[in-house]
Symmetry: C2
Subunit: 231 residues, 2 copies
DNA sequence: GTCAACGTTATTGTTTACAATCCTGCAAAC
DNA sequence: GTTTGCAGGATTGTAAACAATAACGTTGAC
């Protein structure tokens, strides 16, 4: 691991001896660390030593400390008194719970989305349905995964429920590892595709109950898949 | 709106120790501030000046800073760059949203609780039903409010859904002001009592769908009450 | 009288230094 | 052989000093 990898921005007026440029503002650092965790760059249970992170991200230890505190509240890192912080490891059981809660909230969002769906949004939904179907037919896994994200995201946006959006975002962050693992599971798309299509159809038909039901079933299926993946 | 200066709420620890005791650990400080906010000692939009809080709670400014960061993530305080922190004011619209999300999650919990209900828990539920009914008959508002809390809390516990419990706890913290206002509204208990009894009955009958439905209706009613309270 | 430039003050953001705590390894005693 | 006590080092918790920023009031010009 390179310790001196940072750009050597030396002072123009030669005599200055200082080589350091240690300045990463706290909010930015929080975003960076969050990214590193959800992207898997920092793996579960990995120790997060303040001094090391400080060095790594060119930030003061105080800022690192604040960042770890915030991410701890977000549920991405785990802290114990005088023992430091580590990337929180989410158990299968917990991932299932998260999916269940998501299911409850997103079902409500789907219901609201069905009530409020406008022509433009319906058109977008239908296009997602087509893209998804095509992706499954041609076996484009990443395309399908992207559509999946787009669909869920769009429905939440359509619901106009900011609190729900915020809550789901946080929950997703914690379970992202399992989402990823699942989306790479062969055979999974062919199971979830009809569920997605049912959700889209219900929302486009302005049928709140059917939309809620379809979303609920879909995430129950996801939870079941996580349970049986175990690993 | 007067630009009231910093907090002058008395420190929670009643016994005033020696003036020179500049040490309140960070986790404890977080708990204290959270308490002060949800209990209403610190009112919405009140400025939270770091130096003042530091003095008030005998904590270093660094710790105050960490506490404010964490509470900001929890949604209890609002921060803007270089402009400081203040107690976050939750709008009526937002309180309704929170109640809706709670409804979705708690309905799921009620469903699970109905599936898992054991004899002891059923007995406790029935006793709550009696206490509630009695409280309404004799007009004991605070007793009814306590039963309300106990009921919701018990059902969440019964569901065994830790993630749901955690999520709801956070949401409740943000909207607690409205809960309080509502519980003091005369006539409200006579509306919510039958709803509560219906929930209890469904859970005790091991009827998940009915329990979910009853809980959902109940919180929809709460949301409606918040909407119309407006003020 | 209004408006704009400017300096002052209050408050936050950041860094550094210091103290407290915990883990590790080793040696001595039982 | 196991356990207990004790340095030594690593890491976190805390405090104070320093720098940067934005709000405020004042002065001066038009």
């Amino acid at each position: 691991m390179p310790k001196e990898s940072s750009a050597t921005a030396e002072a123009p007026h030669g005599a200055e001896r200082s080589r350091r440029t240690p300045s990463t503002p706290a909010p930015q650092l929080v975003a960076m660390l969050r990214d590193a965790i959800v992207s898997g760059h920092l793996v579960p249970n990995q120790r997060l030593v303040e001094a090391d992170l400080s060095e790594e991200y060119n930030a003061s230890r105080g800022n690192v400390r604040i960042a770890l505190s915030e991410l701890s509240v977000e549920g991405l890192v785990e802290r114990v008194q005088n023992r430091g912080a580590r990337v929180r490891a989410v158990s299968v059981q917990e991932a299932v719970e998260i999916t269940e809660v998501r299911g409850a909230i997103e079902a409500m969002c789907a219901s609201k989305a069905a009530k409020r769906a406008g022509p433009d949004e319906i058109r977008t939904l239908r296009s997602i349905a087509e893209r998804m179907t095509h992706a499954v037919e041609t076996g484009l896994l990443t395309e399908y995964s992207q559509c999946n994200k787009d669909l869920h995201s769009l429905i939440i946006t359509m619901s106009g429920q900011r609190t729900a959006a915020e809550t789901i975002k946080r929950l997703r962050g914690q379970a992202v590892r399992y989402q990823f693992r699942l989306s790479n599971h062969p055979g999974r798309p062919s199971v979830s595709l009809p569920q997605h299509l049912a959700i889209i159809e219900a929302v486009c038909s302005h049928d709140p109950d059917a939309a809620s039901e379809a979303m609920s079933r879909h995430l129950e299926s996801v939870a079941e898949a996580i349970r049986s993946s175990d690993a």
